[in-house]
Subunit: 361 residues, 4 copies
């Protein structure tokens, strides 16, 4: 039983391989009559495009989004929305020579074992290009969330061991490492250039914040907002850890420190602190949702590594050549945002049905 | 749209409130003809029971599992299995006096906002007693997994900031803190006694390991094994973070360090290191699955905290009295194991349908 | 992958066997704060109880509904509702002597083949007692539907070949055959007595009508209201056919006859005729929903039949003794109503999310 | 919550509108390594194409299937398969003049009410062209079913009131009305020509037979094979009734007539008769599955009908011009076959997980 669908109400199914005809997404369950800003979708998509600056891979992927169904006269109709990007100028030749070598850190081995076949062309389904469908769907989710007052933003919190020291959200889009700290951004850029020369790669930590999320989202006991966020983010390739609010730091705190006290603010119940990261008992508190993910270093490195040739079943050395990024942190930022948007829209819709008063309107 | 069901093939639905008539679970999708060892189920259940030693809450919950359906002549029939534990000697009186106070760190506030009602009796649905259903179902899952050769064990890796220094799995069940390091276990026990006197609580880190997991489990793109593990564990109350393999440490590593090289061992492809934690591209590699969760300190503390009275809508102080544990780490160990067992059995069954050769047998 | 759950938002899972400890249902997704009339649930349950008059089986099943979870202070909390009926005075002895004989028309053979086991006690899971869970859940669904203005009623339209000639809904509950035609009811009663003497059984046709259903319910393309109704009703044991509106008669009509013309009535668009049975394109029109089901004669007959002994694997004769009904038509009426109620509440909730305007309220 | 997905394991999601860019389908859950005969898919698709003979609509729809993902080197990879047909030479002009008129019998009214928008171009999503996705997916399902030994065929059993008198399956593809009775086929053809002159339309009955279905398919209690077949077929536009085996005739039979006795045939348990239509207790018996559907007359007729103009909200007459078929019976035959194929493959896969012995292989 395959698993290419995400969400219960706002359901997306992504499809497509890196070097196939196209990669895309079907959205089933987007409410009707949403005026769709397709340019915004394209802009979101552009954020994950490589070749945007000298720090990222010089590949030129045009990645033009096209609509095949579900939109009529600029609005969603309530029918499934099929959107895609055709894979242009696909060149699989550089992969051909390593088609029998398992690239360390990649999904080559596990896909081969699971399916007993091997789409060696650029990672096939396991390629980062699959996230195009997520970003497209996330960009549509964001357009609904905006109407509700929910904003999502993410940034590089740590890269190759270098951590930010302060946060100025205005800076995120002003440097190529999506870093909210100007000085640290420079250090990160320099590190990327260094690592590139070494033929190596680095990981980092992304922090994602959702503000304006109303209290009440999340469905006990298993579909807690926190649980679905963890799944959504851990489903992104390269993510090795997810934490919410205090996260792993909670392990070292006392209850008297960690418990967010309740206070009144303009007649509303608020939380004095936000160690819970906007979620208590799996349900949003109305405070900012704060999530962090650990991103492993990119697996494709030009440095030589030992591996196995699955044809000869003999050890062999591999050097993954080509124009690879040094880190996936930067390009995963829009993907992480998209996944959070998809979780929030789904839970916003689910929560609409929680109380009898709501449904009798 | 509620969310009390977990799993796609081996589906469990838990139900019941802390101070209601019973708490239980329905399992739909357990294969027929499994000889069920109900004593094993009871033993697993006993592990999460309070009052087992002087470190944990002295409450006496007998927690006797009973079977209502789905078992005939000692075997599963293929029909839904309903199992439950009746809530005996329930005393809600101590909760009555704080029924209008939001306990900091608890789900009181968010459930109240979400559902516009309040089951104030011991946490209601959000109580830790809900995990009884999970542990029962997990104990059945474990019986199938054992036939496949999969073993799951978990232990306290860190408690109140004290970390283990070595691992001897034989020790886990020999100390009340489920710690694989004898000396550190003593320190943890002492810390618990100290914190108890302070009327405070502590958190910690649990490590869960699954060995014998065949390569190939996990369903791209969204139902990756890692993603479903993250969801399963984050759905447990008090868990603030999940990491797999290298986890957050991955953020500081280089690709040349992090990539697990492929080697041959007795003709089989193996991974030289296991930074991936047994999962690559969301699919199991055949190596040990290694997961850690961060557990926040227990929210119920006798120390005074500020909160709001939802009836008067005025600030008030609260001291959560009663016989609470100092940490939930110990009692969450069998719960964490159960959730991993549920993920693995579900994915084992799902993977059975991945290849045409398998299904034509 | 088992299938004991029905519905997407208002989800029910039934469990339990005829001669097990209990039969019951979990409802997950019932909106919070519904004041539950448990006496109404019991009354609905009583309708399917045997032994109500001399025409039906003289077995005395008390069938007292009990609540295990999800209700607090008389209201639904939003948590899963577990309701059950304990099986009292269960006597499996009469089944013991035919435990190796496949009863013709029953599910004995197919369950045995599918699961390779045999719960021979009164049909086990395939027993009509399983419908207790459906009727309980349906009775809760009806309480919400009533608030929306939806009413569901069903009656015997044909029994053993005898058809009704007129319809007076007030009569349905005034005769033991649930027939809206007084004279025909008498004939049906006489026929039942005749057939009883013959040791045989008869089938019939039930018509179910839902009035007050708002236009717009049903989810293209696969979860059409008509499709889900068909599934719901065909999932009831003994049902061999389902038709909506014109049904099989449509096959003989011309488009100019069958098309329901649109007219204006007090400024509202209405359908002049209702051959569509209240559903067009899989979506409710606002007119009455009209459905019929064909019920086969009860399989348990005392007349001798040929069958196979699965132990000896030899032919043998069987006579199913005991106090069986002559027809299941009468006792399936509340079950059919319950299934329609479950489809309608689920689609009512689903439709709440169809339009952006609705969800931004 | 939308409903464009069918199946649990072999899941298809259709998308696309009649006059949009394309119509297509995503299949998620097709086992890996199936050698795909894409020409067979095209041939199946051709069966539902109009303009095949003088009896059907003279529209020329080329309907060339294209693969966008999920196939590599001629085999399924286990990843989602996206297949589509681009809508060529789409001309919406004839629909433009009736864009404000509700066509009687069509889904215009209900889609408009449900979604508050109107894709007036040729039925939009409610068009028969949506079935292209179903036929494509069904053609892939059939390729797996064939390996198991399951064959599905369907034919016209009744058209405009004319019933077949005998069945010669070899004749089905030898006449334009897909009728297994040569003489009756001629009468049907003549009737179609007559009705065409009248500007009217007719309905009929399709019988679908699946042979070679192993015993054991179907999942109690709700996902019975019969229930899922009913849903699958009732989800096809124009279908007003579904019956299995004896169907509505069962209502007139006695238990002693209807019960299929068990007999031994070459050591195997078989059913002497097949009134159950191959399904007992919702599970396949191993005998032929026999299903019939009632198809209403096509709604698009050139005869004048009364309707409402939704812009002026005034009554108006409508004559649906264009090159419409006289009956949808013929073109629905491949669609009905496809839906049965989809149900059978899904249940075949589901049944693989029913027994512990199967899963421990």
């Amino acid at each position: 039983m395959a698993g290419n669908t995400f969400g219960k109400i706002f359901r997306i199914t992504t499809w497509g391989e890196s070097h196939g005809t196209a990669v895309g997404v079907i959205i089933d369950g987007c409410p009707a009559n949403l005026e769709l800003d397709i340019e915004f979708v394209q802009k979101e998509l552009n954020k994950r495009r490589p070749g945007q600056n000298d720090l990222s891979s010089p590949r030129k992927e045009l990645d033009q989004v096209e609509v095949l169904s579900g939109i009529f006269e600029g609005k969603t109709t309530g029918s499934p929305i099929c959107l895609l990007v055709y894979n242009k100028d696909v060149d699989s030749s550089k992969y051909e020579k390593i088609k029998n070598l398992l690239r360390p850190g990649h999904a080559d081995f596990t896909y081969f074992i699971k399916y007993q076949n091997r789409d060696w062309r650029g990672g096939g389904r396991a390629s980062g290009r699959e996230t195009i469908g997520r970003v497209i769907a996330g960009a549509i989710a964001k357009q609904i969330l905006e109407k509700i007052g929910i904003k999502i933003f993410a940034y590089t919190k740590e890269l190759g061991g270098i951590q930010i020291e302060k946060i100025d959200l205005n800076l995120i889009d002003k440097n190529p490492v999506k870093c909210p700290d100007e000085l640290v951004a420079k250090k990160m850029e320099n590190l990327i250039r260094d690592i590139k020369k070494q033929g190596d790669s680095i990981g980092g930590i992304i922090e994602i914040i959702a503000s304006g999320v109303p209290a009440g989202l999340g469905e006990p006991i298993f579909d807690k907002l926190s649980a679905d966020i963890a799944k959504a983010l851990m489903s992104i390739g390269s993510v090795k850890g997810v934490e919410i609010g205090s996260g792993f730091q909670a392990a070292k705190m006392k209850g008297s420190e960690h418990n967010d006290e309740f206070i009144l603010e303009k007649g509303n119940i608020r939380l004095k602190t936000n160690f819970s990261g906007g979620i208590l008992g799996g349900i949003s508190t109305g405070e900012e949702i704060v999530v962090r993910i650990a991103v492993k270093p990119i697996s494709s490195i030009s440095k030589k590594q030992n591996t196995i040739n699955i044809k000869s079943m003999k050890p062999e050395e591999i050097s993954v050549e080509g124009r690879h990024d040094v880190t996936s942190v930067i390009r995963l930022i829009p993907v992480a945002e998209a996944m959070i948007a998809l979780v929030l829209i789904d839970h916003f819709l689910r929560n609409k049905l929680a109380k009898i008063d709501n449904i009798l309107i």
